[in-house]
Subunit: 151 residues, 2 copies
């Protein structure tokens, strides 16, 4: 298993992972399209060009089996240290329940630590109760309410 | 009242606002120092140089009376649209309860809309029950759990 920054060739597989999720489908914030259109390529290029954003893939034998996005956010609190925001965590459905998600998050947390971040944060839908236990086992605390406003 | 991007001269007042908060003091993630040290200046310069991060101040008669930080995050979901993350929202204690916070958040949401963002998100400590009602009145939904891990 390898964790690395996604290349252009990984994008279709990442989109498949983002779409393969019941809550994403129900959410009503918009769905992930079946094909990669110009706006999605532009978003990928924006992430790739930004040294505070990283699209990560977990790759096993040349197959993308997991993904997440990392955003390193500078701020004046906590002694001026960055915080890491983790978004869009997905593990391919046939690979869930085997510890891959934990490996991916621990890898991301290590990356934050190496970079000198003071905090790692993420939000997860209140309906994802399995995910809540998962993040608590990894040492996270559900100390905050996560508010969203679709535009 | 004016809302604008903070300048270097606003930084001490922003730090005072960040520090003037009971939960920040209790949080144990580290406190905001009384003075502006090199790491905080470096963080301010990182925000200033980054076109996806904006430190915002609310200014009334040359006094900083509110602040928040905006981070515009590119992503592959939601048709490739950015999301806005709002962090570090503070209103000076003698100005609370008079609608200023609502004005600041609506201004930030309008800024996100003009930029074409698909979503605005933020987290707020579970103990800030007044803040929860405040964000619900502004149209936000507490759909997510907010997990944090201090490093």
């Amino acid at each position: 298993m390898e964790f690395r920054i996604a290349t252009r060739a990984d994008v279709p597989a990442v989109l498949d992972l983002l779409a393969d999720d019941d809550i994403t489908r129900q959410r009503g914030y918009g769905t992930v399209p079946e094909h990669v259109d110009a706006a999605i390529w532009a978003a990928f290029e924006a992430i790739e060009a930004d040294d505070r954003n990283e699209l990560i893939v977990a790759v096993d034998r040349n197959e993308v089996v997991g993904t997440c996005q990392l955003t390193f956010i500078p701020g004046l609190s906590r002694g001026g240290g960055e915080r890491l925001l983790i978004e869009a965590v997905r593990i391919r459905s046939d690979r869930r329940g085997r510890g891959l998600g934990g490996e991916l998050i621990r890898w991301a947390v290590d990356r934050a630590r190496e970079r000198g971040c003071r905090m790692v944060q993420l939000t997860t839908d209140k309906r994802r109760t399995d995910a809540h236990r998962f993040y608590e086992r990894l040492g996270f605390t559900a100390s905050h309410e996560g508010f969203k406003l679709a535009l």
